[in-house]
Symmetry: none
Subunit: 84 residues, 2 copies
Amino acid sequence: MPEIDHESPTPVYRQIAALIVKEIESGALPVNRKIPSESALTQRFGVARTTARHAVAHLREEGWVFTVPQRGTFVKERAGADDD
Amino acid sequence: MPEIDHESPTPVYRQIAALIVKEIESGALPVNRKIPSESALTQRFGVARTTARHAVAHLREEGWVFTVPQRGTFVKERAGADDD
DNA sequence: TATCATTTGTGCGTATGTATA
DNA sequence: ATATACATACGCACAAATGAT
């Protein structure tokens, strides 16, 4: 279930980020939908919160999501993407 | 801005430590003032967190600062130094 | 009003692996 | 082998804001 390979040369945080991107692209996570919290990711993938945070920070830097303190992180609107 | 010279024979962590000492001596960082966090130093100087940590550890060994776990690192009182 | 759970923000402690000189 | 430096990853603790009760 975790789908995380700790032996892979690809860092864990990037693997998690990639999986979330996949969910965004598939439509499972539409625009403005809250993505799983850091704690949720921590449990789901069996990683440390710092690692989950790193994955989210990466998604933010890549423009996939935006974060609202104390509320959560949400899927960002992109040019050429369908709205919810 | 970084004022860090990676080509210098002086290790990066010592250069950072020296800059902080300068700020303490100039009064920019008075006694009991919290010095920049490891993350802040990491960003400010464009170094790895381990390097920033090394710089802070060095300052601690030299008696310039003291660290309170989970709270931060603060400027230590010195004999002959003015209080804040 | 007060309390509680949730969630992000911040900060340090530690360890491993890699690379270079 | 040692010192330096970076990237990654796990752990722990506390703060602050939000939302629900």
